[in-house]
């Protein structure tokens, strides 16, 4: 039922999006390899660079684990002759921003053409406000028409002038069934004495607070001092009782797989990508949060090359491959929520199991149970300081 509903919606959206296709944009994308173009100032910026330097989170690209390659990146390289220097150096938003803010504030390049940051942190909007990111070359991204309508107008970048979603995801709870009974609620995660010292909490304020506020019966999309303090008190109690072992970014995944952790506050796709049959992911019974990671082009980057890549990733066929990998060659996908309309149709034909996987194309019931964290709270310096003090004790 819900699958049909989503599918029809997607088809409608795809049809509507098709009308936006522009001829000049299409030509610009095709002209990617036109190295003999006249050497005017305008066209020189439309030349592809030799390498695309792409910083992303771990477990966030389709991967062939035998050859240790990223198949879609190799395809990009073959198609455009641009080598992709792909670095998985983003573990959490705050520390990555910490790394790049120094050079960016001095007007220096960070040697990256594409970076990926989450909209439930303050950083994408801060980067735009500070003028540290470039506008997309939309002429090179005709496939922008495939962007899910629900993601087209975020309040921090209303026309998607600076950003394009990479993946969306949900925050929930993962547990290892060899070490624990199912952990389905925050109250169980933070209160079950059997899990003492065997769990981690995410260090992203929005993820952690959303889940804890929902467990308190509060609304994370409208944070008040009272609900904020109540959530902080609950987490602090779990820290003081040594229930929470650590606050982590992506790095909760290896100890969870190794068995040092019995359960963890966790992001939806990571668990699917780890592919350990003893580790399960669920939305918390009280609800979870949903967020979107965004590709951004930092100052000093090659805007054209980065935009051509964005266009490539928004081809539904490529998007489907990033999402679901390729079982024939043993490639794993990222298994997060795909922002590209049309990818599901491709997957329905090739890998129906993935197309019907609720982690990648969530059901309506799931979407009704996830919330977007309050954007005002993300920029509240007082909240940020309290949060940072809590996670560094």
């Amino acid at each position: 039922m819900t699958d049909l509903y989503t599918r029809r919606k997607l088809l409608e959206r795809a049809a509507a999006g098709g009308a936006v296709l522009t001829v000049p944009g299409f030509l610009a994308a095709c002209g990617g390899s036109g190295k003999k173009a006249a050497a005017t100032a305008a066209s020189s910026s439309h030349k592809l660079a030799k390498t695309l330097r792409f910083s992303n989170w771990t477990l966030y690209m389709d991967t062939n684990n035998k050859k240790h390659t990223h198949p879609t990146l190799l395809q990009f390289q073959q198609k455009y002759g641009v080598q992709v220097q792909y670095t998985e150096d983003i573990n959490d938003n705050a520390s990555f921003f910490g790394k790049i803010q120094g050079p960016l504030s001095r007007g220096q390049s960070i040697d990256r053409d594409l970076i990926v940051m989450t909209d439930n942190s303050r950083y994408p909007s801060l980067l735009i406000k500070k003028g540290w990111v470039e506008k997309l070359d939309k002429n090179a991204i005709p496939n922008i028409k495939n962007l899910q309508p629900a993601l087209q107008h975020p309040n921090w970048d209303p026309n998607r002038d600076y950003s394009l979603p990479w993946q969306s995801g949900m925050t929930g709870i993962a547990f290892n069934d060899k070490l624990s009974d199912p952990v389905l609620s925050i109250d169980d995660l933070f209160g079950n004495p059997k899990l003492k010292g065997k769990i981690t909490c995410l260090n992203e304020m929005a993820d952690a607070l959303s889940l804890v506020m929902l467990s308190n019966g509060d609304d994370p999309s409208n944070v008040t001092d009272k609900t904020f303090n109540r959530a902080i008190a609950k987490i602090k109690k779990a820290v003081d009782s040594k229930q929470i072992r650590q606050f982590t970014g992506n790095d909760y995944a290896p100890p969870l797989a190794k068995g040092d952790l019995a359960a963890a506050m966790s992001w939806s796709g990571d668990i699917a990508q780890i592919g350990n049959k003893h580790i399960h992911w669920n939305l918390a019974t009280d609800g979870g949060d949903i967020w979107t990671d965004n590709m951004l082009i930092p100052k000093g980057a090659n805007v054209y090359t980065a935009s051509v890549y964005m266009n490539f990733a928004y081809d539904p066929k490529i998007a489907a491959q990033i999402e679901g990998g390729d079982p024939k060659t043993g490639d794993t996908g990222v298994y997060y929520i795909c922002p590209v309309v049309g990818a599901r149709e491709v997957l329905l034909k090739k890998q129906p199991a993935i197309a019907k996987n609720a982690l990648i194309f969530p059901t309506k019931k799931m979407l009704d149970n996830v919330h977007i964290f309050d954007a005002k709270a993300l920029n509240n310096q007082k909240y940020l300081t309290v949060w940072q003090n809590l996670i560094s004790a």
């Binding site: 705050a94 801060l126 040594k242 190794k258 940072q388 996670i391 004790a393």
Partner: protein
């Protein structure tokens, strides 16, 4: 040359100049910037401005006293452990190493060809909850059945001790190696027991190495944050973790700068007290 010959008094200063210039450019000037920054107020979005904001220091001490104390405590314990572990090793290599001395020293230094981060991550594996170490300790009941080492202060102190071990072992070795063995023989000829000869001759002669080693270990260990980050829980975070998060994650530069100064002053005080207790002349032998 003729110039140098005429102004012979200048020579030492000319020889010192590169070192002094290096210190001035890469230590004094940045320190000045840091001091300037520590007295600023404002926030990241609108920018920071200098305003003699001494409150930053007060807040650093008031809000993070526990972290400062913990840092000095962990660094102190780790330094003492490193001394206890390194002294016999350095002693043995210096007096019994024979022609294997260089090889044995290489064994001490070899793990440090691997980067700091990887070495610390290796400890994460060594101390893992299902690992050999934890299971052995549980088997002999040194650790309760649900007990663990990772994410405890034990793991943090163990990590610091390991990571700074060569800074202790090498100066110890150098000072022990220089001891004239005939002095020890002389003590024994004068009816000192081996133990007494050690206490009255070897140990005092090796004190410059002990002092150099403890300083080289304690000072960087007090500002360390990697070990607490990877091997500790939030309860084990040191002041380095707070400074790192203030500087890079909250981008609250004045707070981070003032904390760095407080840490520097605390370390300086600890070192001065230590130097007074053992006597500075020992440092130079």
């Amino acid at each position: 040359m003729a110039f140098l010959h005429r102004h012979r008094g200048l020579t030492p200063y000319l020889l010192l100049a590169p070192g002094l210039a290096w210190l001035a450019v890469f230590f004094i000037v940045p320190l000045g910037f840091l001091a300037y920054q520590s007295l600023q107020s404002g926030n990241f979005d609108v920018g920071y401005a200098f305003s003699w904001a001494w409150g930053n220091y007060w807040h650093a001490i008031r809000d993070y006293r526990g972290h400062f104390i913990r840092s000095l405590e962990y660094a102190g314990i780790a330094t003492a452990l490193a001394l206890v572990v390194s002294y016999p090793v350095a002693y043995w290599i210096a007096f019994r190493g024979g022609r294997w001395k260089n090889l044995l020293l290489l064994f001490i230094v070899a793990p440090f060809f691997v980067t700091y981060l990887i070495r610390t991550l290796a400890w994460e594996t060594i101390l893992a909850d299902n690992g050999f170490v934890v299971r052995t300790l549980q088997a002999v009941h040194l650790l309760g059945s649900g007990g663990r080492l990772l994410a405890t202060s034990t793991a943090v102190v163990a990590g610091i001790t390991y990571n700074f071990l060569p800074f202790m072992a090498l100066p110890l070795y150098v000072s022990l190696e220089q001891i004239d063995e005939s002095l020890i023989e002389a003590a024994q000829d004068l009816y000192a027991s081996r133990w007494k000869a050690f206490l009255r001759v070897t140990l005092p002669l090796s004190l410059p190495g002990v002092i150099a080693g403890t300083l080289l270990t304690f000072i960087p260990a007090a500002g360390d944050f990697i070990n607490a980050q990877l091997l500790g829980s939030p309860q084990n975070h040191m002041i380095g973790n707070v400074i790192q998060s203030k500087f890079l994650e909250l981008t609250d530069y004045p707070a981070a700068a003032s904390m760095s100064f407080v840490l520097m002053i605390l370390i300086l005080m600890a070192v001065l007290a230590y130097a007074r207790a053992v006597g500075t002349e020992k440092l130079t032998g």
